[in-house]
């Protein structure tokens, strides 16, 4: 078995299994820790608050936007760009089809390139702020930097593989994807799942109080 076969075959299966099991374990672990039932008489619904809290924090608030605009622009650019290129890139759809048998309409090539550029620009803004902004520098740790670099390398090698000119370029992309999948559940990249719980808990607390800031 060649390099490409290995990273797309056994290594990918192992990485995907580690990703799925460890991520599920971590989320399940958080849910299992539980929370004491609140017996104060409620004024509103905790469940509605859980949902509202999740939706509300997707949107930045005007009053803070002037102070945090770089972050808002960088954050949205990166996350939306990544979402689009991951789910609507033609190669990704083919790849998903190969494993899950489902597919949908991909973005045209120019759309994919635009989404990638937006995602790159966002990621770079966030990363530069990580060491240039005194607040972010103070609170950032090794995990933040590794997560950023790995994501960057996955995206970069993905772009290099886009031409389909060399199989090995696709292999390098897949190698980074495999490493990223293995690293993901042990790192802060898990925020992609844990945000639901965190926003939801706060939303539920406020929801019981009949409000949701």
């Amino acid at each position: 078995m060649g390099f490409v076969g290995f990273v797309e075959g056994p290594l990918f299966y192992i990485a995907a299994a580690i990703f799925a099991l460890a991520a599920a374990w971590r989320v399940f672990g958080l849910i299992r820790m539980g929370r004491k039932p609140d017996i104060s008489p409620p004024k509103g619904s905790a469940t509605a608050g859980f949902i509202k809290g999740n939706l509300r924090h997707f949107l930045p608030r005007g009053m803070f936007a002037r102070r945090t605009w770089i972050h808002i622009v960088g954050g949205y650019a990166f996350h939306l760009g990544l979402f689009v290129l991951f789910f609507f890139g033609a190669f990704h759809i083919d790849f998903i089809k190969q494993y899950l048998g489902i597919s949908w309409t991909p973005l045209p090539r120019w759309g994919f390139i635009l989404a990638s550029e937006i995602a790159f620009a966002g990621l770079i803004v966030l990363w530069v702020r990580r060491f240039s902004d005194p607040v972010m520098r103070l609170i950032s740790d090794r995990d933040d930097h590794i997560g950023t670099w790995l994501t960057f390398l996955v995206m970069l090698t993905g772009c290099l593989a886009l031409q389909q000119s060399h199989e090995v370029l696709r292999g390098i992309h897949m190698l980074f994807v495999d490493i990223w999948l293995i690293y993901f559940p042990f790192s802060r990249l898990m925020h992609a799942f844990t945000f639901v719980l965190s926003r939801g808990h706060t939303g539920a607390t406020y929801g019981r109080k009949g409000m949701n800031p």
């Binding site: 672990g29 820790m33 609170i139 844990t194 965190s198 808990h201 800031p213």
Partner: protein, 429 residues
């Protein structure tokens, strides 16, 4: 307590208080630092150490080391953080007690919705258990243990103030009245600093025909247990009120114009005591708004001064009473203007969460009040500010004096409502 012991005691408490909610906060924080932009301590100083999430670091470290899912796998790869030490806890002490008023503003900007305020409250449990707490708060605890009040207000002092207010208003105030509908509790600050609120209650409730009383056994609403982070003390203080209220057989306990006291008894109270109360807790602002809407305390001539409202964090943002004070003000004040970001986005006065009881934090508190003062200064021709929390009110008075601003009156909402009540003759005529 030996040094290792202290660190271990604190860590054990941190872990005990890290439930699924707190753990999800620790797991979701992406270190984006946006929360700094919402915190008045960072805004006033621009010092990164006042970044809200940074204040939690020792507790996060303990969690990652000992409780986080998959921590044993991380351990195999040497990826666990080192153990929390007493030195580290001491280094963080000022961040945990002096620079967080538990105002909850950072949660609004946080993309993950992390409740830093609630987590600081839990983190203080570890600090209190290890006895790493500011002297100012320790003194308040001593007073509470001796007199039930953090300022040492005895029942004798309360009764003297009640007598004085009876004389001022000419209205009899019944203490320990069995079977009254409402039992009012007050903060020490109100009893000693703003006793006219007792007279205001007397006027308003007489007009509304509300039967009310004050207990000579449990009159204190301030919960220093919540501020210092001592669950057992917080429970003891709430229990005192619950016992007195249930003994008198009242239907409602009125939480006063004090921020954290409301959260302590209304939202945390039943959970501390471990059962629902046999009465309802109602905030004085809620009650006044209800009485007004029921037509029992119609408004008379409005106060003509240009006024604004300070939103005490624990009553408004964390308490949910957003519209009520505004409805009352609209009817009591002819020229009401809002501060920038009023309501849920209000800026804290800088002295909540036990900060004002901690003299060590005075300078920082005053710096943080600067953000509030800027908001006040931005309103041209402002003559008065309504501050429905006795603690915030003291912080305002001190902060304004510090800035030599003498032309701005600071007043409570209850007083304003009492002063602008429609006269009985007016109502009847």
């Amino acid at each position: 307590m030996s040094s290792d012991n202290k660190a271990q005691i604190a860590v054990d408490k941190f872990l005990q208080f890290t439930d699924g909610e707190v753990a999800s906060f620790f797991e979701a924080c992406v270190h984006c630092g946006e929360c700094a932009e919402a915190c008045h301590f960072y805004m006033a100083t621009k010092d990164p150490k006042y970044t809200p999430t940074y204040k939690l670091f020792p507790m996060v470290k303990a969690y990652k080391r000992e409780k986080a899912p998959l921590h044993s796998i991380r351990k195999m790869f040497g990826l666990l953080p080192p153990a929390v030490t007493e030195d580290e806890l001491r280094e963080w002490e000022t961040l945990v007690y002096d620079s967080c008023t538990m105002c909850g503003r950072c949660t609004m900007v946080c993309p993950m919705g992390i409740d830093i305020a609630g987590t600081i409250r839990k983190m203080r449990e570890g600090y209190a258990a290890a006895d790493i707490v500011p002297d100012g708060l320790k003194r308040s605890v001593d007073f509470v243990e001796k007199t039930g009040s953090p300022m040492g207000v005895t029942s004798k002092a309360l009764l003297a103030q009640v007598k004085h207010q009876e004389k001022e208003t000419g209205i009899k105030i019944e203490v320990d009245k069995q079977g009254a509908d409402y039992m009012a509790i007050l903060s020490s600050m109100e009893i000693m600093g703003y006793p006219e609120i007792i007279g205001a209650y007397a006027k308003i409730f007489q007009k509304a025909g509300v039967s009310w009383t004050i207990s000579s056994k449990a009159y204190e609403a301030t919960n220093v247990g919540v501020q210092i982070g001592s669950g057992p003390l917080a429970k003891e203080i709430v229990t005192r009120v619950v016992d007195a209220a249930e003994e008198l057989g009242v239907k409602y306990v009125i939480s006063p114009e004090c921020g954290h006291a409301y959260g302590a008894i209304r939202w945390a109270g039943p959970n501390m005591v471990g059962r629902p109360f046999k009465f309802e807790v109602v905030h004085i602002i809620e009650l006044l708004d209800q009485l007004r809407r029921d037509g029992k305390i119609p408004a008379g001539a409005k106060d003509g001064r240009k006024m604004t409202l300070h939103d005490p964090c624990q009553i408004i943002r964390r308490g949910g009473l957003l519209k009520e004070p505004r409805r009352l003000l609209d009817e009591s004040c002819a020229d009401f203007v809002e501060m920038e970001n009023a309501g849920l986005g209000n800026l804290c006065c800088g002295g909540g969460g036990g900060v004002s009881a901690n003299p060590r934090a005075a300078e920082l508190q005053n710096a943080a009040f600067g953000c509030k003062a800027d908001q006040l200064n931005a309103i041209d021709g402002l003559e008065a500010v309504v501050v429905p929390c006795a603690n915030c009110r003291t912080v305002f008075e001190e902060g304004l004096e510090e800035r030599e601003i003498y032309n701005l009156e600071v007043l409570g909402l209850g007083e304003l409502v009492a002063e602008t009540l429609k006269d009985i003759e007016q109502a009847e005529g």
